[in-house]
């Protein structure tokens, strides 16, 4: 089959690779019908996340049609149209039973690569470094999905592919980030980043009853999507002296009740702190640029919630004293998709939230490298390209 592979830093290539096969009895093989790049892919493409190998099939946000099932799969059959969360859960371990699916104990075959750094292991994920499992990704014609009964969610017939696809990751992650905020009447939620995850977090916060939602970015089309699609107010951080001061003024001097970081380790910003972070990261003296996260910590209301969805390495300057003295609650995780996907598909079917506006460009698999390039550089108003293998 054809697949989009990581060849080296900033070098993706479409290659011919062997077809996946059923390995374990609860596996299925899907024909991938739609898959999309995630902002977190850019971190290993840019070389900031280790343990990629030449030839790895990438991609972790996808949906497809079941073509083959293992002998112990019960709830999924050939021909079913399903959407699959990016982190793989087993459904049996204590973490899965507690609905903390990305912490699953039983789906990372390379746990020993992760443990020295994390002190423990995460679930496996498709196409996202060997430390995170080494599973072949979804930017391919076919993909193997382990523990299919736990990981395949049937897409209602009435939904278009673009309405269901983002439940795989961007929407589930954004929704979880808003859920972490325990939103109450009158709350203001600020969201750093108006990409797929940030927009879904804003949309979800509004669905959960936030009085005001504020999106922060610098790209006009993304800020426009935040206003027009998610109903947010927006801040263009390149147009204000201080994001923190602007947020304080917008909230009567209190600061947002909850702040969601949907940016992560390659944040952009302005001013001296950003220049310092950027220089240090380019020299590989540290892995992260934490501009967005530090702003969120400073802006957040005392006693408020900091919800971190951005992906980080070992950020070396974290203002713990500010978190501590302001009594912030930090909530963070890789997405617990299996917990949220059923309700997301229900929202989509009811027409409460249609995420298909994220899909700004449709491309073939062969056009994958160019699509990633456009996505990375935010060209042509791109929020998310979708690939149709």
């Amino acid at each position: 089959m054809r697949a989009l592979c990581w060849h080296d830093v900033n070098d993706l290539r479409v290659r011919s690779v062997p077809d996946p096969e059923i390995v374990n009895p609860r596996d299925v093989v899907l024909r991938v019908t739609m898959t999309t790049p995630c902002g977190s892919d850019l971190h290993f493409i840019d070389g900031y996340l280790p343990t990629m190998r030449e030839g790895d099939v990438i991609g972790h946000e996808f949906m497809g049609e079941v073509v083959e099932t293992g002998r112990k799969v019960e709830d999924v059959s050939a021909g079913d149209r399903v959407v699959v969360p990016s982190f793989i859960g087993c459904g049996s371990c204590g973490y899965c039973r507690d609905d903390l699916w990305s912490l699953c104990d039983n789906t990372n075959p390379n746990a020993e690569l992760q443990e020295p750094i994390l002190g423990d292991t995460t679930a496996g994920i498709y196409g996202y470094t060997h430390a995170f499992g080494g599973y072949a990704g979804s930017h391919a014609e076919y993909v193997r999905v382990p523990h299919a009964d736990e990981n395949c969610f049937h897409v209602p017939d009435e939904l278009e592919a673009e309405q269901a696809l983002f439940a795989s990751d961007a929407w589930a992650t954004g929704y979880m980030g808003a859920d972490f905020c325990d939103i109450r009447d009158g709350d203001t939620v600020a969201v750093w980043g108006c990409g797929g995850v940030g927009l879904m977090a804003q949309h979800s916060a509004a669905l959960m009853g936030a009085e005001r939602v504020i999106g922060i970015d610098r790209f006009p089309e993304r800020l426009r999507a935040a206003r027009n699609e998610a109903g947010s107010e927006t801040i263009d951080y390149t147009a204000v002296d201080s994001v923190v001061d602007t947020l304080k003024e917008m909230t009567g001097g209190r600061g947002p009740d909850a702040c969601i970081d949907a940016v992560g380790m390659e944040a952009h910003g302005t001013g001296i702190e950003y220049a310092y972070d950027r220089a240090k990261q380019s020299l590989r003296l540290h892995t992260d640029r934490g501009t967005a996260l530090r702003q969120a910590i400073r802006a957040c209301k005392k006693g408020g919630t900091l919800s971190i969805l951005g992906v980080y390495g070992l950020l070396d300057k974290f203002p713990m004293g500010v978190v501590m003295n302001k009594g912030l609650t930090v909530r963070t995780a890789q997405q617990y998709g299996q917990r949220y996907v059923p309700e997301l598909l229900e929202y989509a079917a009811e027409g409460d939230l249609d995420p298909s506006y994220l899909a700004t460009h449709e491309r073939s698999l062969e056009e994958g490298p160019a699509a990633y390039d456009m996505f990375k550089h935010k060209e042509d108003g791109c929020i998310r390209p979708v690939l149709t293998p």
Binding site: S16, C93, P146
Partner: protein, 260 residues
């Protein structure tokens, strides 16, 4: 990033071939050891620095430490878990020097009385031990272990169950005269609350210094700690889900399968 390095390093990590002393008080060629330590350290340091990444930093740090060690001529063995365990009162007491012993625990979400049988059954034990060895029955309470080697004949040895308290513990040891004298014990105790069972695996390998066994171990990059940790993880997955996560037939442009 050099693509040769980017593939070489994960291989090193994967095989668990992390420099490890067997803490044998052999007082052998200390200059040779120092040079070997420095060379290994230098390799890791260079690889780590060239990787310019998170794992690279870890590698470089470890490499730098080994170089410093080689330069300072420290003859103190790299501290192994075996020696750490020996140092602790009560646990592993009486384990002689030269025997790498590891003890590792994992919590499995099942009651203890369902767990013993996995360690009796050669088929299940082979799945648990994964790439380490293939295990077959060799008569009552006896198992035959076979370890494939890249070159030369396979390593084989036999073990016998020496103590068996269902739901509590199981012990085995290799028969006299085997290539890889080996002892194992698995213990079960209830975890707090409804968290299942704490399973503790103790493995002790006894490759006599300079013997075929020791050489084979080092050549194969077998680190008992890695063997124990992987075995426990695989055991837990097998018990909790009925299967073990696998990269068999995993597609990539390198081919099919990323067997570790």
């Amino acid at each position: 990033m050099s693509s040769a390095l980017s593939t070489a390093i994960p291989e090193t990590l994967r095989s668990g071939a992390i420099v490890q002393s067997y803490s044998a008080a052999d007082g052998g060629d200390s200059r040779g050891k120092r040079l070997a330590t420095m060379a290994a350290g230098g390799l890791l340091l260079a690889a780590g620095l060239r990787r310019r990444s998170l794992s690279g930093t870890v590698l470089a740090g470890g490499g730098g430490w080994l170089v410093a060690r080689g330069v300072s001529g420290s003859d103190r063995p790299v501290r192994t878990l075996a020696s750490a365990i020996r140092d602790r009162d009560g646990v592993g007491a009486g384990v002689p020097e030269g025997m790498p012993t590891v003890e590792r625990s994992i919590t499995v979400g099942a009651p203890a009385d369902e767990l013993s049988e996995y360690w009796h059954d050669p088929e299940q034990l082979t799945r648990i031990m994964g790439p380490f060895a293939e295990i077959t029955g060799a008569g009552e309470d006896r198992l035959h272990w076979e370890l494939e080697t890249p070159r030369g004949p396979n390593l084989t040895w036999e073990t016998e169950i020496t103590a068996d308290e269902p739901g509590e513990s199981l012990r085995w040891e290799s028969l006299e005269g085997t290539t890889i004298p080996h002892e194992g014990e698995v213990r079960f105790r209830s975890a707090a609350g409804d968290r299942g069972t704490v399973v503790t695996l103790r493995l002790q390998f006894d490759p006599p210094a300079g013997s075929l066994g020791a050489a084979a171990f080092q050549r194969l990059g077998i680190v008992p700690e890695t063997v124990a940790k992987k075995a426990l993880r695989r055991f837990k997955s097998l018990v909790e889900t009925g299967e073990i996560p696998s990269l068999e037939h995993n597609p990539s442009a390198r081919g099919s399968g990323d067997l570790l």
